[in-house]
Amino acid sequence: MNRAIADALAAAPERGVQEDVMVLNMGPSHPAMHGTVRMVLTLDGETVIKCDPEIGYLHRGFEKQCENATWSQVFPYTDRLNYCSPLLNNFGYALAVEKMLGIKATDRCNYIRTILGEMARLADHFTSLGAGALELGAMSAFLYAVEARDHIWDLVEEVTGARLTVSFARIGGLKEDLPDNFAERWEATEPRLWDVIKKLDQLSTKNRIFMDRMMNTGVIGADEAVSLGFTGPVLRSTGVAYDIRKDSPYFAYDRVDFEVPVGTNGDNFDRYLVRLEEMKQSISIIRQCLKGLPGGPLNVDDPHIMLPPKELVYNSIEGMINHFKLIFEGIQVPAGEVYSYTEAANGELGFYIVSNGTGKPYKLRVRPPCFYFMGGIDRMIEGGMLSDIIPTFDTINMIGGEVDR
């Protein structure tokens, strides 16, 4: 619908001098552009006739860098892909390499990955919803959401030792097990998260101004969204119930019970509601996983993949050599190629990797969910008003680190 208005406006017969359109350069230094995108807008008054997004301001050569790092050294780079949920990127990459190696992580590892992954998803959604409210002018809602995210990051810090650059996953396992009191800590955190979710709900969902700003803005249809390669909450808001956690389960997602919320209109409000509902599902997943957390070993028992324990490294020649080979030459991944995909907070996060049988990736290509949103964002923006860019850009939750890599 938006598109039709835009086309009609663009095709308007000879505009007089007084009716000239205005070209407005929004970004890359602009409060709404998240610091990394530039949009060249053609405006007719307040209506956006044409939107020309330009990405690449945060390009740091992630894919090329990875070719010069061993398989394990890639983890810190993945932290910086979607910096709102670094754990999910970690796990997505680990899963890809494991697929290549043909190994399966242990049950316990899968459960813990699920728990931490859902925590990262919660943090990501809190950030997205909060920032959305902030940019619409409701600053308090943002600070409440950020406070909730901080509670999650406190937990993440307790587990991984870092808040943002966690690098917690390992090929074939994790850096270490959950701390002993993790379940108790979660018990204490969960009610606070519910509090904030409830507060966000009260502040926004039934707020007339918020509804007016979000409803019927940034609309995209299901067919168009599918053909543009949209995934995640943005696709689900159009009514397509595509969730990799359900459709192609990995980790422990086939053993937990959760629902995939879908919207109907594909507008900003639906995307907001989908995220809000997903947060509730995430909390439920974490609770189920903690209840059913199996015992047993954390990491795969394979000296070709896992580093030996430190006692062996310091006290035996075999351990020493094993450690040396794994660190300097890297895990030897058999030649071949694989595409592995997981459901990150924003949608399908895919890793396409090619190995030539050495300790370093021959080629590593990331399919970031946000990149595809940026390809279709002009359709959501054109025909709308200048102010509609703000909620639209927020609800697709574009993350520069992921788009530009």
């Binding site: 619409l136 002018g137 600053m139 308090s140």
Partner: protein
């Protein structure tokens, strides 16, 4: 007729009301209220780093407030190359000046009676003396018209600020603010037309005097009792006039950077910012005057409290009454200022076309209906 003493008193009043009340409270709210009080709402600490004289306590962040003001004074005054230098220079003054001038007609207290005060039918009557206008700069008979006139002028500040800087963001902001302020002026005027009919005067002090009456012997006859709808209309329209959230589209920082004052810095920026805050306080003062009894304290009259027994229940000396009324007025004003701040921190902002819809399609019809109904009732009784 206009003696030097009168002139001195006039100057003193201007000084105290603008420089002693409006601007300092405006500044305080700009820097202190917006940071410390919002921090209270948002579970934050707020700024507390500025220290003076090596005192370790942050002293309720008051040094921060001073430091911010000093910073604004000493920042570089940057002007875009292609800006219209004259209007760029004038625009902040045009924004601040009306905001301060408006205060001329606000009565902070009743006319001071030099004789004895008698209370008759819930009205103070001055016997054996003259009434001196000590608590407002000008006791204009056309007070309300003056308010409308001056607040119309304040459009120019924002519009010129937007035009003169030669920035597209500022231009959009200037256009938005012009459209918004002109639209809401209509509602603002019409919503008060009903109260004019009821009070039968445009003099703000007389309006406040009339609100001292008691309905049924117990309910203060404040404007909101007679005109509840007009109160909401007027409050909303005035908030839109001052361009504060949720009507802050002219400066919607996430869309058009800072709107019409994107390219203003240093004290020019400060002046524009201050004009908005002074405007916010003025809204509080005007709403208090017209709808909440102005300087009236319920049941308090020139000689003390009357609780409907027909006589004085608690005697209060006249000076005490004046002081209580002054405090009451300032308290009412600050209440409405805080109310606006709470709204600002809670609500998201409208979209430009939604503001226009609200103004022309919802508020305007309601205010016309309110006016017609009020007129019929006034005519009938």
């Amino acid at each position: 007729m206009f003696s030097p003493i009168d002139f001195a008193i006039l100057l003193l009043k201007i000084g105290v009301i603008t420089l002693g009340f409006a601007l300092p409270i405006g500044g305080l709210l700009t820097l202190y209220g917006d940071r410390k009080l919002s921090a209270l709402i948002q579970n934050r600490v707020g700024p507390n780093r500025a220290k003076v004289f090596g005192i370790q306590s942050s002293l309720l962040s008051l040094p921060q407030f001073v430091a911010d003001g000093i910073k604004m004074l000493f920042k570089e005054d940057a002007m875009p190359d292609n800006a219209d230098r004259f209007w760029h220079f004038i625009a902040p003054a045009l924004a601040l000046l009306p905001a301060i001038t408006l205060w001329a007609v606000i009565p902070f207290g009743d006319l001071y009676c030099t004789g004895t005060v008698q209370v008759k039918d819930y009205m103070d009557v001055c016997v054996g003396g003259e009434q001196k206008n000590y608590f407002s700069i000008a006791n204009l008979d056309a007070g309300l018209l003056y308010v409308f006139a001056i607040s119309s002028i304040s459009v120019y500040g924002a519009a010129l600020a937007g035009w003169s800087t030669n920035s597209k963001f500022a231009l959009i902001g200037g256009l938005r603010s012009t459209a918004q302020m002109i639209s809401y002026e209509v509602t603002m005027g019409l919503s008060l037309a009903g109260t004019m009919l009821i009070y039968g005067t445009l003099n703000l002090n007389e309006m406040a005097q009339q609100q001292g009456a008691l309905l049924g012997g117990w309910l203060p006859a404040w404007g909101i009792v007679y005109q509840p709808v007009a109160f909401f209309l007027f409050f909303i329209a005035m908030m839109a006039e001052t361009k504060r959230a949720p009507f802050d589209v002219p400066e919607g920082e996430s869309e058009i950077v800072a709107g019409y004052f994107t390219e203003f810095s240093a004290l020019k920026f400060g002046a524009i910012q201050l004009s908005e805050y002074v405007g916010t306080i003025f809204v509080g003062a005007l709403v208090a005057t017209i709808f909440f009894g102005g300087w009236q304290v319920p049941f308090l009259y020139g000689d003390g409290f009357h609780f409907g027994s027909g006589g004085v229940d608690i005697a209060v000396p006249y000076e005490g009454v004046v002081a209580l009324r002054l405090v009451a007025f300032i308290a009412k004003t600050l209440f409405f200022v805080l109310l606006q701040f709470m709204l600002r921190w809670t609500l998201p902002r409208f979209r430009y076309d939604q503001i226009m819809n609200l103004g022309w399609k919802i508020l305007l019809p309601i205010s016309i209906a309110n006016l017609v109904i009020t007129a019929i009732i006034v005519l009938a009784f």
